[in-house]
Symmetry: C7
Subunit: 88 residues, 7 copies
């Protein structure tokens, strides 16, 4: 299944986070913290508004977007305005 976002929308793949300390101990995170970072999977056709590109890691507004399953993994359809920052 291929998803082509419309207009100012951006499809992102939510990161599955497995945080470990240097010593390898797992540090649990709240769901909220986990879901704040995602990778851009596809972008809409409104190129004037969209300033991220496929592959960018982004931070997004909590509660934003519509969650969809693509090939079994959690994705979100966000509006560009819900993307807060690019993470490098």
């Amino acid at each position: 299944m291929k998803i082509k976002p419309l207009g100012d929308r951006v499809l992102v793949k939510v990161e599955e986070v497995e945080e470990k300390t240097a010593g390898g101990i797992f540090i649990p995170q709240t769901a909220q913290e986990k879901t704040q970072i995602a990778t851009v999977a596809a972008i809409g056709d409104d190129k004037d508004v969209i300033t991220v590109k496929v592959g960018d890691k982004i931070m997004y507004d909590k509660y934003a977007g519509t969650s969809v399953k693509v090939d079994g993994s959690d994705h979100l359809l966000l509006r560009m305005a819900d993307i807060l920052a690019v993470v490098e």
Copy 2:
């Protein structure tokens, strides 16, 4: 009964999903997941805004639109802005 959507509205037919694994086991889905994909059945007359065409499979915003029955099957009258992506 033929329905002609007005303005930026789009009539879509909600997909009836019967998910099976390769082995044929039925996997139940929540209503929410089911209703996120639909097929465009008719489009309004506001061609500047509408960028989908009859037959397109689309993803739409949860809670959007007005549900109507057409010839016994579930349809939705959506606004173009409620359509998030085209699925291929």
Copy 3:
């Protein structure tokens, strides 16, 4: 009593639905389903906005409009934007 809607408003007569199967068995409908189709009885003077005409069967947004009695039958005063589609 004659009602002349103002501006972008449209007066519609709510259909009284008596659904029967081919065999004549009455199938009850919820009020919600019943009230979604109506016939245009009069239109306002804002001709740029109004794209329906007297006699058209239309579908309208649930919860929209103000209900009024005209000569004993249920009518609604809708705004043009509450009319979703024309039914043929």
Copy 4:
């Protein structure tokens, strides 16, 4: 007391309805039904917007306006946009 509405406002006198059948039996109406028809008593100075005139019978949006007593009878100060239709 004379009331001069400002801008796009219209002062209307709420009709006191005494509904009787041909045989003279009183049919009670709910307050809601009663208060939907009124007569224009005075209009504001925004003549571009106001398309009703003193003496017109009008239907108005339920819950709209501010109720005032003028010489002992119930009146409403409505905005033009709250007036749905003229009744003849």
Copy 5:
């Protein structure tokens, strides 16, 4: 203390109503009815918007404005848009 309203604001003095019948019997009024008439005490500097003048008796929207005490009497700081009508 002298109050100079800013912009489209108007300072009004709320009327203290003592309603009596011809025979002098006091008729209590609800607070709501009482507070609907006031006298303009000062006007803001936005003369394009303000169409009332000091001394005018006005009717105002229930719940509008910010109540202030000026020299011991109840006043309100209203926006021009909250003033519904001039009373003569």
Copy 6:
């Protein structure tokens, strides 16, 4: 600590009111009445919008602004639109 408000914002120092009668008896006031007068301490850089100056006594909208402590005394960061009137 020096605070420079941004844009259309105004920093005001909330007055501490100690109301006494001529005879010196303290008259308690509600918090609401007390907090309605303040003195302008600093203004933002949007000079087109800001029409008050440092030192002005102003009345402001109840519930408006963000309270901050400056050198131990209560201040508020208001928008110009929350300032209702200048008091002289």
Copy 7:
């Protein structure tokens, strides 16, 4: 991890406040008071709107922004409009 805010957004580092009197006694503050001051860590690309620069100490609107962890310390992604004042 480097965060590049988008558009009119500003990344700020929330100050950890340890208030002591001259005599060194710790004075507890409510969380609300603490979180009102922060230091600008990165700014977005909308230079017409953003009037703060990296290193500025700013006051921000309570409840504004999205909290993020950067290298273990509390940060906020604010919109420029949520920044009330610069502190010097």
